[in-house]
């Protein structure tokens, strides 16, 4: 009885607190109503308050696209000024870069790892500019009648700019049905944004890998937000605009960490029900776990070797395609590689970046040359791990001046030094640098280059996000290249590991030997006694 009571007392005194503590520490289910309210908010369909089809000014036969803009601005009197100040118009932004000071960088002035840059190629590249007629340096950025309202606001999906037209649409009988388009203007849809952003680098999904035509029709497994069988969200849901200033900017062209569109703006910084996962958000960006692969539908261009451009077969330009129709080689552009379902490469990134400029010297001991550098490291409190597409290429450089060369690629007619027409590197490089007003020694070669493109779209279903073991594993984990910190499950100290294992082995050997000797000596003694 006494014993029994003692046992009960101990059970109450020791086990009860253990149970209480465990229950208290059990992760409480945090309220996930935020997600519900988001679902409600984004499922509401807004009805436009205006029927543009009833406006008389829009009923005329337009023969000049500038007149369309004038018609728009006659009612939306202040919108033109707003657009003149935004990045879609200016293609440059003010930024402060350590070591460079205040800079004005953007598509207008930067080189990239794909078509190299727009200088001297405006007629072709600027098909994606939201203006009409940016064909050379003379373009007037202060004239609001140069704005192309339709490329963003056409909701029929039929508006098109002409190839090589520097932003102009085809006018006349072959052009789009402007009456219908003007009757159906509205908020930008995925089709509008995708018209340019899905085709960066010269084709569908070439540049970004996570932005492509498939997003117009894809289901939730491709993009959980934009899936047509789910929330079916439009780009502007996450990239809203206030006075035509869009939220979100791209690390490939912008340097300072402001005005970013983030996951947190809807999901908060601690969106998980598990606190262990929420802790990860201090050091790991949402995208890292939630975008395990990109280029889920169509392949994206992973490398571009410019050095083989101009090669001909039997004196004639040619091209090679893979079985899916992706270009593996064209005489005008060189060699490519493509990949689908790509695992991103991971980097520390604090939101700021640097960009290599045409006049900057190349360090030949530090190759591949980084066309853009994403800043960040483990010790930087603002840095998180981000997934990136790393695009690798080779680009022409000046072997005397040690600078990257901006070639002239495109022109409307032959004989003007455009590589894509004349297939002559020397002439193309000379003309490109002439146009950019930069020195060129006349001697060129090619160097390997890299461009880092953080992956932000094609967010997977939660059930398909990365699991602990994808990173917390000893060999070949997703983060195997980020070695500036200790990660449980991956890292160890070889000395401690060897010492520990030896210690355990010696202990085992010790007790086995000691036990054996004991067993034998006792056996002998027993035998003697007998």
């Amino acid at each position: 009885m006494q014993n029994f009571r003692t046992i009960i007392t101990f059970l109450l005194a020791v086990i009860a607190p253990l149970i209480i503590i465990t229950v208290v520490l059990r992760e409480a289910n945090t309220d996930n109503s935020k997600l519900e309210s988001l679902r409600e908010e984004y499922s509401a369909i807004l009805q436009p308050g205006v029927d543009h089809g009833k406006h008389e000014i829009l009923q005329q036969e337009f023969t000049n696209p500038h007149l369309i803009t004038a018609a728009c601005l006659s009612c939306h009197t202040e919108r033109g000024k707003e657009v003149l100040g935004n990045a879609h118009w200016k293609w440059e932004r003010e930024a402060f870069i350590p070591g460079k000071g205040v800079t004005y960088l953007g598509k207008k002035s930067l080189i990239n790892n794909f078509c190299t840059g727009i200088a001297s190629n405006e007629g072709s590249c600027n098909r994606c500019h939201i203006g009409y007629g940016w064909k050379d340096k003379s373009f007037d950025f202060t004239n609001e009648f140069n704005i192309d309202c339709l490329v963003c606001h056409d909701n029929t999906g039929t508006y098109e700019k002409a190839k090589g037209g520097a932003g102009y649409p085809v006018m006349g009988p072959d052009g789009p049905d402007f009456k219908n388009i003007l009757a159906n203007v509205g908020k930008p849809s995925r089709t509008n944004c995708g018209y340019c952003h899905f085709h960066g680098g010269g084709g569908n999904n070439v540049k970004h890998g996570d932005l492509e035509m498939a997003l117009l029709t894809a289901d939730r497994t491709i993009d959980v937000h934009m899936g047509v069988d789910g929330m079916n969200m439009q780009c502007v849901a996450c990239h809203p605009a206030e006075n035509h200033q869009m939220l979100g900017r791209y690390y490939g062209v912008s340097s300072s960490n402001t005005q970013r569109a983030t996951c947190e703006q809807c999901h908060t910084a601690v969106p998980h029900t598990s606190s262990k996962l929420n802790e990860h958000t201090v050091k790991v960006a949402c995208q890292t776990c939630h975008i395990p692969v990109y280029a889920k539908v169509n392949a994206t261009k992973m490398s571009w070797d410019w050095s083989t451009a101009t090669r001909r077969k039997e004196g004639l330009p040619y091209q090679e395609l893979d079985s899916l129709g992706n270009e593996l080689f064209t005489s005008i552009k060189g060699d490519f590689t493509w990949q689908r379902m790509v695992e991103p490469e991971y980097v520390w990134h604090n939101g700021t970046a640097d960009h290599h400029l045409c006049m900057e010297k190349i360090d030949l001991n530090d190759l591949p040359l980084k066309i853009n550098t994403l800043f960040g490291e483990y010790r930087d409190r603002n840095s998180k791990i981000y997934p990136t597409k790393v695009h690798r290429g080779t680009q022409p450089y000046d072997t005397e001046n040690l600078t990257i060369i901006q070639p002239k690629l495109w022109d409307a007619e032959p004989g003007k030094g455009a590589l894509w027409i004349d297939l002559d590197w020397e002439e193309s490089l000379k003309r490109g640098m002439e146009y950019a007003e930069l020195p060129y020694s006349g001697k060129h070669d090619f160097i390997p280059t890299e461009m880092f493109l953080p992956v932000n779209h094609m967010v997977s279903l939660a059930s398909e996000s990365l699991q602990c073991k994808d990173c917390h594993t000893r060999y070949d984990g997703r983060l195997k290249n980020l070695t500036d910190f200790y990660m449980p499950g991956r890292d160890y100290n070889a000395g401690i590991e060897t010492f520990g294992q030896l210690l355990i082995i010696l202990s085992l050997l010790g007790v086995i030997m000691h036990g054996s000797v004991r067993f034998i000596t006792h056996k002998r003694k027993e035998d003697k006694v007998k």
């Binding site: 003692t6 046992i7 101990f10 005194a13 020791v14 607190p17 253990l18 503590i21 465990t22 520490l25 262990k276 802790e279 201090v282 050091k283 010790r379 409190r381 699991q467 602990c468 073991k469 917390h472 594993t473 000893r474 910190f485 200790y486 990660m487 449980p488 499950g489 991956r490 890292d491 160890y492 100290n493 401690i496 590991e497 010492f499 520990g500 294992q501 210690l503 355990i504 010696l506 202990s507 085992l508 010790g510 007790v511 000691h514 036990g515 000797v517 004991r518 000596t521 006792h522 003694k525």
Partner: protein, 215 residues
């Protein structure tokens, strides 16, 4: 055995504490080395979860054990002594093979031989505290990194993690030797039985000494 008397050596709480602690240490090692990627058993996320829960249970147990040791005066059992230390070592190295008697007499008031005193004291004031402190830092180090507690900014997990790993190896080695030494009592099973029931056959002579001391 002749000239022996049954004595109540290990009290209820002591036995509960000992067995719970042994279970928790083995479970922590099992889950801990999985987190260390030494093998796959529960799955990484479950291993982390179980390891953390067992760690909290262990901490609660330690608090109770400290309380018990202080209030009962049992902490004195761990006071280190050099008396018979050499003899005890010699016993394990040679005497035990000749069936020589234990050099230290076990009594209720002095349950541990000088070697045990040293090793267990080391566990209590060095290894366990290192494991608990490094374990807690392991769990919480991200919070200062996020800028909430500026005064305790820990830049890297590395030293914490390496100390924790080193301690874990030492504990396993201890466990191996400890398990073997169970068999070195009066009989092969007498120590184990004592830790289960609390009762052990102690030499009568020793009991007499104890009585003298108690008087």
């Amino acid at each position: 055995m002749e000239n022996t008397k049954r004595a109540y050596v290990y009290k209820g709480f002591e036995r509960f504490w000992h067995w719970t602690q042994s279970f928790l240490i083995m479970f922590l090692a099992l889950t801990g080395f999985e987190i260390h990627s030494s093998y796959t058993l529960f799955g990484f996320d479950s291993a982390v979860d179980l390891h953390n829960k067992a760690a909290w249970a262990f901490i609660v147990l330690i608090i109770f054990a400290i309380f018990w040791h202080i209030t009962t005066g049992e902490w004195k059992q761990y006071l280190p002594t050099t008396k018979n230390l050499r003899a005890q070592l010699e016993y394990y190295i040679t005497g035990i093979f000749r069936n020589a008697p234990h050099p230290t007499k076990k009594t209720v008031l002095s349950k541990l031989n000088p070697l045990q005193r040293l090793v267990y004291l080391g566990l209590k004031i060095l290894i366990i505290p290192v494991m608990v402190v490094s374990g807690l830092l392991f769990m919480f180090y991200r919070y200062p990194q996020s800028g909430m507690i500026k005064s305790s900014n820990i830049e890297s997990l590395e030293i914490i993690a390496l100390l924790h790993t080193l301690g874990a190896f030492l504990l396993i080695a201890f466990l191996v030797v400890h398990l073997y030494l169970i068999t070195t009592g009066h009989t092969v099973t007498s120590n184990l039985k004592a830790m289960i029931t609390g009762w052990e056959e102690l030499e009568d002579e020793a009991e007499a000494e104890v009585k003298e001391e108690l008087v």
